[in-house]
Amino acid sequence: MQTVAFWVLAVGAVGFGVAVFVVDSMARATFALLASFLCVGVELLLLDLDYLGVLVILMMIMEMLVMAVFMIMYMMNPGGLMPMTMVHNKRGALAISGSVFAALAAGVFLTPWPERRGSVPADPTFSVGESIMGPKMLVMMVIGIAILATMVASVVLATDRGRYDRPPGRADGAK
């Protein structure tokens, strides 16, 4: 049952991933990517990672909706009503990614993977929470600073008025 679910979801994840670059409509491409993420989220649930699996589902839905807004904003052919391709060096990209896949797949089957150490804890969510608030706290602090830096940087880059400029006649900043 679990094996069947794994293969169905795996084929779904890769298939939707390919669909992202095949479909004409940008809206469909965005939601194909979302479908790929949802498949991966359920794959994580199969690995007993309840929290991370549901987190991937939650975050990716929100992220892809934001993505969709930008896709429609910047793409020339958002609805796919005028078929067109926007690729460069397609053959080279195919060759490179194909050989990368072959190398990775060979590595997957040729590497002697280490034996399993330890067993799955009763509550993996608790263990990850405890570790990021304990021995792995530095990781979370770095992530926190990275998020703050990204927020500041993206606002500075994306705004055309700057922090202290207001529309004329609206000195208080109200809309």
Partner: protein, 101 residues
């Protein structure tokens, strides 16, 4: 279901994403390729946690970092596209090669 099959899935997702990142002209589509590559990373991290060392939470922390990186990458990417588009009406990578050596 084994470590190998999960890693194979991760490799497939990574390669599809790599193809997109290399071949797409539009910056937004390129970012979708990058997201797919990180998607593969999520699968690989989770599989290593489950099949190699479930006793410690290292693999889970890695997945958490990857998810965050994905969100940050998208925020920065769109901010850069927006700035680029404002400055010179450009949204494809071929027109933004200023840093080319």
């Amino acid at each position: 279901m084994s470590l190998q099959t999960f890693l194979l899935l991760a490799a497939a997702l990574f390669s599809v994403g790599l193809y997109g990142a290399l071949s797409q002209q539009s910056i937004v589509m390129l970012m979708m390729g990058l997201e797919l590559m990180i998607n593969g990373l999520l699968v690989a991290g989770a599989a290593f946690w489950f099949y190699v060392s479930p006793g410690t939470a290292d693999g889970q922390v890695l997945v958490l970092v990857a998810v965050t990186v994905m969100a940050l990458e998208m925020a920065m990417g769109f901010a850069v596209v927006t700035a680029l588009f404002r400055a010179r009406d450009v949204d494809v990578t071929d027109d933004a090669g200023d840093l080319k050596g």
